[in-house]
Amino acid sequence: MDTVSSAARPQAPATGAPGLRLLATLLAVAALGAVPFVAPTMQLLVNLALAKGLAVMGVTVLLRAGQVSFGHALYFAVAAYGGAFLMAAMPGADLLLLLVAGVAGATLAGLLVGLFVVRYRGIFFGMLNLAFSMIFWSILEKFYHITGGADGIRLPRPTVLGMELGRGDFELVLFYLSIALMLGLGWFTIRWFASPMGQLFQTIKTNETRLEYLGVSPRRALLSGYLLSALLCGAGGVIMGVAQGVVTPEYAWWIRSGEMVFIAVLGGSGSVQGAFIGALIYEFVRTYASAFAGDVWQMLLGGFLLVIILFAPRGVIGIVEAIGRRTARSEDTR
């Protein structure tokens, strides 16, 4: 089962394009960084979008190996609930400890489930991930006395480097931590894709037989990428949980996993920048569509994705790059 990311494979960039892309990325990051000052009311929304973008990056990693998981909200929820339980056990816990614990929990869950699901491909891989996330969802939903049941658990504000911050300062710290995570984990993922391990992982998409005949177990190669995807989803989960202040079983619901795949393809399947662009678009449409067009944000997004799939399979990032190349070309000819 191959996927669209073949189309997203960066062709040999036209002259000047890598500079253009770097410039565009820097501009975008600068714009994001200015949000708390330029548009403070949007800070929470952008922060949630960044958290979702981190998780979507996890799904994008798997798309690069031609695999789609419909259950990665599992790691999103494991990390968020891990953070919530940690705060309940250690009330004064620090934000960074929460992040590390949540991500570690998600990666461990990724190992336990991964050892099982890496034996499968295609629809079975997708559905098995779904099954595990639904098992976790029903545990969260039904074991009320342990997990707080359907109402979820509160995730009170953690301390930052030992300091007890007020709400405004804390949210600013969280916002810039999210941007730092986007840059750090984004850079790592892009480099990892180009690294030997990342390249071996991506060969699962085109020829597992040859991979076996290179002396590499395809399952172990897939597991390496699977763990990274669980880690990224975990990071997103912790940030979302802390930003929201409450974690609910909804975090592990299958539609949230479907959303992540949706956003990955909308933004640009296989592209790290695409994951964040997709997440930002998704959150904006979800929040502001209902302001203009009543409660039809789902229909708008569904229609938007259909247009993308039918006419621009390389997603929004594909469109942006095409425009970038066209302006680059028109400059050359002038």
């Binding site: 789609v68 079975f124 099954a131 639904m134 039904k142 789902q298 569904g302 039918l310």
Partner: protein, 301 residues
């Protein structure tokens, strides 16, 4: 776990399994032929339920007898199949057969999101309750427990008829053979003159109609409210994957397995009732990676 409890769990399980099977049947048929896991199946199920409740309500208001609810169920199923199933395949899916599997899946996910809002715009968000068909058949008491004839007898009977009917249709009729041929090998089928496009359109309409029928049959047993599609479809995924993708007979057995599993869980350890179907799915796929009835595709080099 005395005998009566065992029998009660059995009856509840069968009634629930019948419904789950009818919905999973359409999903399995579509996947078997078109290799597409139709996420929008859940919305078609819900719209089938809404349509039945509206039609039945209107007919009852005009003074028709409750027994009319049954033919109306078929009408809503056909409406869902033709008015929704047809355009989805013809306008959307037809354009992406060459595209990677994840995109086909996502197109149906996008359609699912669109139809969820269409439901809310058309029928609002408050719950509907229309049990005329169920009440028309009355109750039966077994072991001191009163069951509705509708749930205990009608639903399993319809499920069985659909299973045998579909098997007969696929194996004995010309169109059925065409569909089977296209399932085996689409290129080969086209090379001998089978119009695969027509077969796909027909298959999707039948599959969508089955989803609508599932919703129609479920409508008297439950209150119709937004989100019912999402709950049922995720369960159908479990049934279809456990059976082995595209295996119709397999879907019947796994629906029974999951229906009984869930119902026994309610009696033994209620908290796990929601968990059991997915646990069964994981355990089965652990033992048989291609699903109960799936056949492992030999990897040729």
């Amino acid at each position: 776990m005395n005998l009566t409890i065992f029998v009660l769990a059995l009856f509840d399980g069968i009634a629930y399994a019948a419904l789950v099977f009818i919905v999973a049947l359409g999903l399995t048929l579509i996947f078997g032929v078109m290799r597409i896991l139709n996420v929008a199946h859940g919305s078609l199920y819900a719209i089938g339920a809404y349509a039945t409740v509206s039609l039945t309500g209107a007919f009852l208001a005009m003074g028709f007898a409750p027994v009319f609810a049954f033919p109306l169920m078929l009408v809503s199923a056909i409406l869902v199949g033709v008015l929704l199933g047809g355009p989805i395949e013809w306008l959307l899916l037809r354009r992406i057969y060459d595209k990677p599997e994840v995109l086909q899946l996502l197109v149906t996910f996008a359609v699912f999101m669109i139809l969820e809002d269409v439901q809310r715009l058309a029928w609002g968000s408050q719950p509907y309750f229309q049990a005329a068909a169920l009440q028309a058949l009355g109750n039966v008491t077994l072991f001191g427990v009163t069951y509705t004839v509708y749930q205990l007898i009608l639903l399993p009977a319809v499920a069985l008829t659909l299973l045998l009917g579909l098997r007969f249709f696929l194996r004995r009729t010309v169109i059925g053979k065409l569909i089977l041929a296209t399932t085996e090998d689409r290129e080969a089928a086209q090379s001998i003159g089978i119009d695969a496009d027509k077969v796909f359109l027909l298959t999707f309409i039948v599959g969508a109609a089955l989803a609508g029928l599932g919703g129609a049959l479920a409508s008297p047993t439950t209150s119709i409210l937004p989100g019912m599609g999402a709950d049922m479809i995720v369960l159908s995924f479990a049934v279809v994957a456990t059976a082995g993708l595209g295996q119709i007979e397999g879907a019947a057995l796994t629906a029974l397995l999951i229906g009984l599993g869930r119902s026994f869980a309610v009696y033994v350890w209620p908290e796990t009732a929601v968990l059991v179907p997915y646990l069964i799915m994981v355990l089965v796929l652990l033992v048989r990676p291609e699903g109960l009835f799936g056949s492992p595709a030999a990897r040729k080099i």
